[in-house]
């Protein structure tokens, strides 16, 4: 029989590992599906919105950057280059963005019963993984349309980097969702931060076309390193800068552990503040 003790101190292990997550996989699944469904339930185009948004963004950016600023990504058509960057970036961006309000937006669930609250941002991030899968399909269609050779071996190798990206996104999501309970303008702030972050990451340009000083930023920008590696794998089948990726691994563990710790620390206040 499970004894649920309130007010007792957590062990070091419980603090770092979300082992209760495993027990709540079912709930995470249900919440994630619900998240995707709510988003599209009463909309005309439904899930197609996940495709329309990056498509329009890719088209307008490719017009601005290619036709006006003459950016190139030879030998890859710029639209395909951009769309692949955006597909991976959007997963991070939308994951963090929707997770930020995942705790505050589910007040009615919080009032009901205890369940580990980490489940909420986790589900929000995983829900965006479903959107991401649709985006990936569209990306592959564009590869076919523009006859860009796809490196299948590289495509498979993306999986571990994507996993890293999921974990990193969750770490950031824990921080922003918990802080958003205390300070509601976190959701405003995060939109701004994400925008700056996107331009600091090789989403719309190739790292080699950036000035050398800026390339240093990628050392401390794990998501940039991941997107860069993911794109390299798609186009060339190998990672150009594996060193950046190792830094990203380190950052991911740090951010995840710190995020979880912060979340657990603020968690007892949720019911009181909301």
């Amino acid at each position: 029989m499970a004894v649920a003790q309130v007010g007792e101190r957590l062990t070091v292990l419980e603090r770092v590992l979300p082992h209760d997550l495993l027990r709540w996989v079912e709930l995470i699944r249900n919440l994630a599906v619900r998240d995707v469904e709510t988003r599209y339930k009463h909309s005309l185009l439904g899930l197609y919105w996940t495709l329309i948004n990056p498509l329009v963004t890719a088209l307008i950016f490719s017009f601005v950057f290619q036709d006006i600023f003459h950016a190139t990504s030879k030998p890859i058509p710029y639209v395909v280059f951009l769309l692949s960057g955006l597909t991976f970036w959007n997963f991070f961006n939308n994951g963090v963005y929707s997770a930020t309000s995942s705790v505050t937006g589910n007040a009615q669930l919080l009032a009901k019963l205890y369940f580990p609250r980490v489940v909420l941002p986790t589900a929000a991030v995983l829900a965006r993984l479903i959107d991401f899968a649709f985006g990936l399909v569209i990306l592959l269609v564009f590869f076919a349309l523009y006859r860009v050779p796809l490196h299948w071996a590289g495509f498979i190798l993306i999986a571990p980097i994507l996993l890293l990206q999921v974990v990193f996104t969750m770490g950031i999501a824990f921080i922003t969702s918990a802080l958003n309970v205390l300070y509601r303008d976190m959701s405003q702030l995060i939109g701004l931060l994400l925008m700056v972050w996107m331009y600091m990451s090789p989403v719309m340009f190739h790292p080699s076309s950036a000035p050398a000083e800026l390339r240093l930023v990628f050392y401390i920008n794990p998501i940039g390193a991941m997107i860069s590696a993911e794109k390299d794998l798609l186009f060339t089948g190998q990672v150009t800068h594996p060193l950046y990726l190792w830094f990203a691994v380190l950052w991911t563990f740090l951010v995840y552990a710190a995020g979880l710790r912060l979340f657990k620390r603020i968690e007892p206040l949720f019911a009181e503040v909301m």
Binding site: Y114, Y183, R184, P268
Partner: protein, 267 residues
């Protein structure tokens, strides 16, 4: 018999902050040294003070008290949605709760979808939930509406579905708030019968209600809270009697106050 719930000296203090920083902007503003204005003042408010009780498996406890007495805070601590400031609480077994009307229901989703979501919060797997759907639908009498979004439900339908889900997940401890008051008499009776029948199976019941007769006649123990403190705890008949006596006295003081006010108005 084993103890299901042990609540020991539980106290809950809220900080009524006069100006809590609600935004990052305010937070940054606080950080400016020598800014004008006063420091944030906090006022502690004890919603619960030193509440202790014990409940064995298969026993029931009725909780009574006026509005603002601290009942809801106690329930939030019992459902572990809130942490006690002092004291400790141990719940041994799966807890199911029916707290607020439609708490945990998503308005845009159908009754069936909400059953899945709610039951998974209570720790059930998909297959287990699927097996319980017929039972839930039958008990809540929502056969024709189970695939209708919950936002179109009446408050009675809402309560019926909530109750059916909360009791069908085979809890070991069941917490029920006044939500039953919205159902019609027939349904209230049906719920009470269900509560008593699962109690027979060894489930502990915690019931908050203003229906004093229900508490007095059907519960094994009663707890009366006022201003966050336990006034009386024990035999339900006696607790309810004491509560009624205090209530009668309270009314006379209110009437006296009213008379005074009226008298001063006339002058």
């Amino acid at each position: 018999m084993d103890t299901a719930v042990t609540c020991e000296h539980v106290s809950k203090r809220f900080q009524l902050k006069k100006d809590r920083a609600d935004s990052v902007g305010q937070l940054l503003y606080r950080m400016i040294p020598f800014r004008r204005g006063q420091r944030a003042t906090t006022e502690p408010f004890w919603a619960l003070r030193d509440v202790s009780f014990e409940l064995k498996f298969g026993e029931s406890l009725g909780i009574i008290g006026h509005n603002g007495a601290g009942k809801s805070t106690l329930l939030k601590i019992l459902t572990r949605t809130m942490y006690p400031t002092q004291g400790s609480l141990a719940m041994r077994g799966k807890v199911s709760a029916l707290i607020e009307l439609g708490a945990g229901f998503h308005p845009d989703f159908t009754g069936r979808e909400n059953i899945y979501l709610n039951a998974s919060i209570l720790g059930l797997t998909r297959r287990e939930i699927a097996g319980k759907i017929p039972e839930i639908v039958e008990f809540s009498e929502l056969e024709d509406f189970i695939d209708t979004p919950v936002k179109y439900y009446s408050s009675g339908m809402n309560a019926r579905l909530g109750f059916a889900v909360a009791t069908s997940v085979r809890p070991e401890i069941l917490i029920v708030d006044e939500v039953l008051a919205v159902g019609d008499e027939g349904f209230q009776k049906k719920c009470m019968e269900k509560i008593l029948s699962i109690k027979q199976e060894g489930v502990s019941i915690l019931l908050v209600s203003h229906a004093l007769n229900t508490i007095a006649n059907l519960m094994d123990h009663a707890l009366w809270i006022e201003h966050g403190e336990v006034q009386r705890y024990g035999d339900p008949q006696e607790v309810v009697k004491a509560y009624r006596a205090a209530e009668a006295q309270g009314e006379t003081t209110i009437e006296a106050d009213l008379r005074k006010v009226l008298a001063s108005d006339r002058r």
